[in-house]
Amino acid sequence: MNSRGTDKIISIYWFAILFLVAVACVYLVYSFYGKPYDVRKIEANFLVNQVVDCISDDGILNLETLENPSFLEFCHLTFDVEDFQGWKDDQFYLEIFLCGFDISNGQDLCLSKLNFGDENIPKNCELKSGGNYPFCLERSSYFIDAEQNKYSTKIFVGVKKIEKND
């Protein structure tokens, strides 16, 4: 009689454990598959690659490209996005600093700056990058021009698209 009672208690505990396992599984599945895939990091890297490919040719900087008034069109870039939750075409930000590069003192003297897209994105990225904030990425590249002058460029990219990636 006592043994049967113990069995019943063990059985209740066992089903309580199963219930906890089930709740944990459901929670994990919903937290993983309920969230969208965040692809903004890949997207930002691809955008930087495209800009670098556009402003240089085999490591030779093309200064005329940076002076082109329709830079985005020239580099085959468009910041138009789909109609979604009131998105206007403000989901990207691109900033390019062109600096002279002096090896003797290792200092950059920035000559020009270009920027396109929503200027609020870098301000938000100062608080946090990724998650429910825009994802931002900065990359430096070094080039020479046709006259062997040395340059460094800083390319800053921000991708918002928060509703579809977080």
């Binding site: 692809v39 997207e43 691809f46 069109e73 085959h76 870039l77 468009t78 138009d80 996005v81 789909e82």
Partner: protein
């Protein structure tokens, strides 16, 4: 003898209940893994990223077996799963809803079509740069 029989029956019922529990849990996880909205999102983003990194005249073949199978179940023709309009990719495998859209920044003229010679492959073609 009667008591032995009872113990055996109880154990068998206990094991069967546990197995039923595990099967339900696994089925739940698999159903979420292959849910239509997850597949739509996965392919829309994947195709948008492929186009972002592609250069003119490239031709990319993408196996979309899980999407094609789901679409067929939902009576959607495989040719109508993916569409590209300007710079927005749309993937739709459910007859209800609008599908999932994602944009690409690469300003190229991209077309996508279902490869009828294979059963599950889509071909993404980068025709040139858009003006």
């Amino acid at each position: 003898m009667q008591k032995r029989g009872n113990i055996l029956t109880e154990n068998i019922i206990f094991i069967i209940l546990n197995l039923v529990f595990v099967v339900i849990l696994v089925l739940f996880i698999f159903s979420k893994m292959s849910s239509e909205s997850v597949i739509e999102e996965k392919y829309a983003k994947q195709i948008a990223l492929i186009v972002d990194e592609a250069k003119p005249v490239m031709e990319i073949h993408l196996n979309m077996q899980d999407a094609v199978e789901k679409a067929k179940k939902n009576k959607i023709s495989p040719e109508n799963i993916v569409s590209i309009s300007e710079n927005v990719v749309n993937v739709k495998i459910n007859s209800r809803g609008e599908g999932y859209s994602y944009s690409f920044f690469n300003n190229v003229d991209a077309t996508i079509y279902f490869d009828t010679t294979s059963s599950f492959t889509y071909v993404i073609k980068i025709n040139g740069n858009r003006k």
